[in-house]
């Protein structure tokens, strides 16, 4: 009938380099960082004595969202000093995710593993650093020899705890963000290609051409779904970072 030509994965994910080592993925990442900086610089210029309007209103509600929706739910009152860190994580990930559905850009920067990996290593360094700061070298001791566990089980639980904190956590953080966005991107590409192939099919069976409406409806639906995924994955990454930081602060107080 007709052949659906699915492009090789490199064609989906590798974009033209503007000049060596700087492609569109890097452009999106740089743009998202710049947008956040400029946005908050603008919001900072407004008079704090007046009722917030415009840019400052949005900025204040985003700070409130991080404080009420993420920090108070996971870290409690003492975690409020982490607001800038978590806010910048959330906004950067969100702005890297959302180009997946923006026409012209059409590529989430987090669908290449470099950015999720970099971010989760950043979080990894942070929570290990926090653990070392709050508990000293005893942090690794607590990991390997967890208090409050029966002695017979301590080697086993300690090993599991150590491996899951040091190795599995950054890996799962990376893969969760990366694979969600990659899957979404490939889904959109698949339905886009299907629509195109049906619409321009050179076939004698003309009834196939109007069928292209069906994958198009699915494409619209999936685009809306991808917006949801972009917000949700940024939220989940941020909330997990908060939980990990809280864990390395808290285990000191238990005994």
């Amino acid at each position: 009938m007709f052949a659906l030509e699915f492009p090789p994965i490199n064609a989906l994910l590798r974009w033209q380099d503007f000049f060596p080592t700087f492609n569109k993925i890097a452009l999106i990442a740089v743009l998202s960082a710049l947008i956040v900086i400029i946005f908050y610089a603008l919001a900072n210029r407004a008079n704090p004595m007046l009722a917030p309007t415009g840019v400052r209103n949005v900025a204040e509600s985003s700070v409130e969202f991080i404080e009420d929706g993420i920090i108070m739910q996971t870290m409690g009152e003492s975690g409020l000093k982490w607001t800038p860190y978590l806010l910048s994580l959330f906004l950067f990930i969100f702005l890297c995710n959302i180009p997946g559905v923006i026409p012209v850009l059409q590529m989430p920067a987090t669908a290449r593993i470099a950015i999720p990996l970099g971010l989760s290593l950043f979080v990894w360094v942070t929570y290990i650093g926090v653990g070392l700061k709050h508990q000293g070298a005893g942090y690794f001791g607590h990991l390997l020899w967890p208090p409050g566990v029966p002695t017979a089980l301590k080697p086993l639980v300690g090993l599991i705890e150590f491996v899951s904190t040091i190795l599995v956590t950054p890996f799962s953080l990376t893969v969760r963000l990366f694979a969600n966005l990659l899957a979404g991107h490939i889904l959109l590409v698949t339905f886009g290609l299907l629509t195109e192939a049906l619409l321009f099919a050179r076939t004698s069976q003309l009834f196939l051409v109007p069928m292209s409406v069906l994958p198009f409806i699915m494409l619209v639906f999936l685009t809306a779904f991808e917006v949801l995924v972009a917000v949700l994955q940024a939220y989940i990454f941020t909330i997990l970072a908060a939980v990990y930081i809280q864990n390395s602060m808290a285990s000191h107080d238990e005994h």
């Binding site: 090789p8 994965i9 739910q73 799962s172 990366f178 990659l182 949700l232 989940i236 909330i239």
Partner: protein, 92 residues
């Protein structure tokens, strides 16, 4: 195993590379399908229980929702690793 794949190769008339990509493509679907079963059950159970809890105690809905998202994130990771394996098999 070696002898078996040589036999299959001679019987089917594909070269080793073609045979490899055919096998990879036909197992990729199974890999993802199998990886999706467990997390699907897990997420269904998790969200169902969370809705139950929210219906019983609407004032605790915020806390339940946060914990639910955390649980979903951990459960979903398995399916996503399965998806990465699918991509590796299909395209690599």
């Amino acid at each position: 195993m070696e002898a078996f794949s040589i036999l299959v190769q001679q019987a089917s008339g594909f070269t080793a590379d073609e045979q490899k990509s055919i096998e990879a493509a036909s197992t990729a679907g199974f890999a993802y399908g199998l990886a999706a079963i467990g997390p699907a059950l897990g997420i269904g159970y998790l969200v169902g229980k969370s809705v139950e809890a929210m219906a019983r105690q609407p004032e605790a809905a915020g806390m339940v929702r946060t914990t639910m998202f955390l649980g979903i994130a951990f459960t979903e990771a398995l399916a996503l690793i399965g998806f990465v394996v699918f991509i590796l098999l299909k395209f690599a």
